[in-house]
Symmetry: C2
Subunit: 330 residues, 2 copies
């Protein structure tokens, strides 16, 4: 083997594409068609050295909504199921909840009454059930719950209700030196407890809603305690604000599925040079769920209009994905 050949190997050797094994065909769960083409063409365009649209790796930031974009959000957000279960477990210990209608309903498993209380009641349950412990304790509670909880209609673990095509997309982008972020309305500490294992997204790349926390020394040992007070709601206009706050630069690509993601996509699209915005449209009532304009969860109305107006990619789940969920593990 000649030295020149060695140099060629060193220059062209891309460990990631070999490790992921899809150098030949990326995104196998995506059917050939306009959505897959748009993704691949965009990635090639910004990663081809010498191309006028080339973007240096440090600026390849991709942001993903979570609920309905990376995993299923029907018939109820996973985190709400967690909050209800955990609040029920906590209720006997939280004497201050006694007599309060919402918490009484939680204790009795009366979901209808909880939901009838509207956003305010649901919020109250989520905040109350998520506070009062240290950050380390909370992460363990989430992990323990996820290990046992099962999705109400499929009976699968929630962590198996992730979209296989999106797992492949995350891998594909990372292999092309994108930094992949979650920017979700869900609780940041709820997601961080499992996002690295399930999505390969480390805690520092998970942005979400948060409650306030406090540092204190307990018997000389430092702990961070979770307080029953909202810090930030990462939804709608909050998403670009949080992206700017946590990442400090504009994403190159943004992926969402609801009107709550629209400001994030607008912010992304308005950057100079090439940008990529994609909406997932839930169109597959048989293999997943079909919903958009009329849905309370993951309502997609203005977003569809904006996508049409700006030429963003809209994934038709039924048409574009040959697999929805990964194979069952147990």
């Amino acid at each position: 083997m000649k030295l020149s050949l060695v140099i060629v190997i060193l220059a062209t050797w891309t460990p990631c594409s070999i490790a992921h094994g899809w150098a030949a065909e990326p995104l196998p769960s995506w059917n050939d068609g306009p959505s897959k083409d748009a993704i691949v063409q965009f990635v090639q365009r910004v990663t081809r050295k010498g191309d006028s649209d080339f973007v240096p790796p440090s600026e390849r930031i991709a942001v993903f909504d979570n609920d309905g974009t990376l995993w299923a959000e029907q018939p109820m957000y996973c985190q709400l199921a967690f909050a209800l279960d955990h609040a029920k477990a906590l209720a006997p210990l939280r004497l201050e909840w006694k007599g309060k209608q919402t918490f009484q309903a939680v204790l009795e498993g009366d979901l209808e009454t909880v939901l009838a209380g509207g956003k305010h009641a649901v919020f109250e349950v989520v905040v109350a059930s998520h506070a009062g412990n240290t950050t380390a304790e909370f992460a363990q509670i989430v992990k323990d719950w996820l290990a046992k909880a099962r999705h109400p209609t499929t009976g699968r673990a929630y962590t198996e209700m992730v979209y296989q095509p999106m797992l492949e997309l995350l891998d594909y982008l990372r292999a092309n030196d994108f930094k992949t972020y979650i920017t979700s309305g869900g609780g940041v500490e709820f997601m961080r407890a499992w996002a690295e294992e399930i999505y390969g997204i480390p805690p520092e790349q998970v942005i979400g809603s948060s409650i306030k926390t406090k540092f204190e020394l307990r018997g000389g040992k430092p702990v961070i305690v979770r307080l029953p007070e909202i810090d930030f709601i990462n939804d709608q206009e909050g998403k670009p604000v949080a992206i700017h706050k946590f990442i400090g630069r504009r994403p190159l690509a943004a992926f969402g599925n609801s009107d709550g993601d629209l400001p994030m996509l607008q912010w992304t699209a308005a950057g100079d040079g090439p940008r990529f915005c994609l909406y997932i449209h839930h169109t597959d009532a048989e293999r997943e769920w079909a919903y958009d304009r009329g849905s309370h969860i993951g309502k997609l109305d203005k977003g569809l209009a904006a996508a049409r107006e700006h030429g963003w990619t809209v994934v038709d789940m039924q048409r574009d994905w040959n697999v929805i969920f990964p194979p069952q593990q147990r």
Copy 2:
């Protein structure tokens, strides 16, 4: 060249150590002695595969205070100099400041009166001078100012008032797969405007104090506007809270120079397994400044006691650094 040799090259080829040129001797601006030894020994300990103290790269998080730790903070924080200069430039346009004593003093360059107003007055000037524009505009204002501003005693650009030994330390840690973060009381958007160029620290790894921002569409174009309202003060107990919020895992190593960094060092040190905490002690009145317990800026009192108690590394600038600032560039 034989194939086996090629494989050896591929297996041992570490681009970073070659690029940085200190494969033979890391940290050249650090004198041999206990501080340098402690750093090198810690890094070797957590990066040696098979060692019981080995830490996977994804968990190698190192956090650095900025003022007084990565660059000089005497005789006045750089950002305060910026705030005063910028407020002075803004004053004629901000009619609402007219007649207010603090802003009148700013306009007249009367620093004494501003400082006599105490923390509150200084804060008022910083917030007022930092708000009211878009995030993109503000970043440009900072860059323009830094290009022209000069340090009051050395006459050098502020970006040349960085510590050469700390630049080498950042490089050394990154070459060993550490992710290096700034966690400073300074304004996050002030630092992000230059941290990548000067320290090699990208915006998403800069954590600081912040004011609130708001997303809005201006004539259909999305902007993020900076509001005159404090969002978060990243000092004292705020530092571990922000580390948890932005990074979501406990650092492996923490570097500071004042009591304001103590909770961050305590939080770091309290983690399981090997941790590294280091204080920089300003002991060199000739080449830099000498200050600790009695200083209003960068007061170091409780931190020194904690370092002694817990066996943390304390850098004696005079003894440990053979160079303080990088060579003059212009």
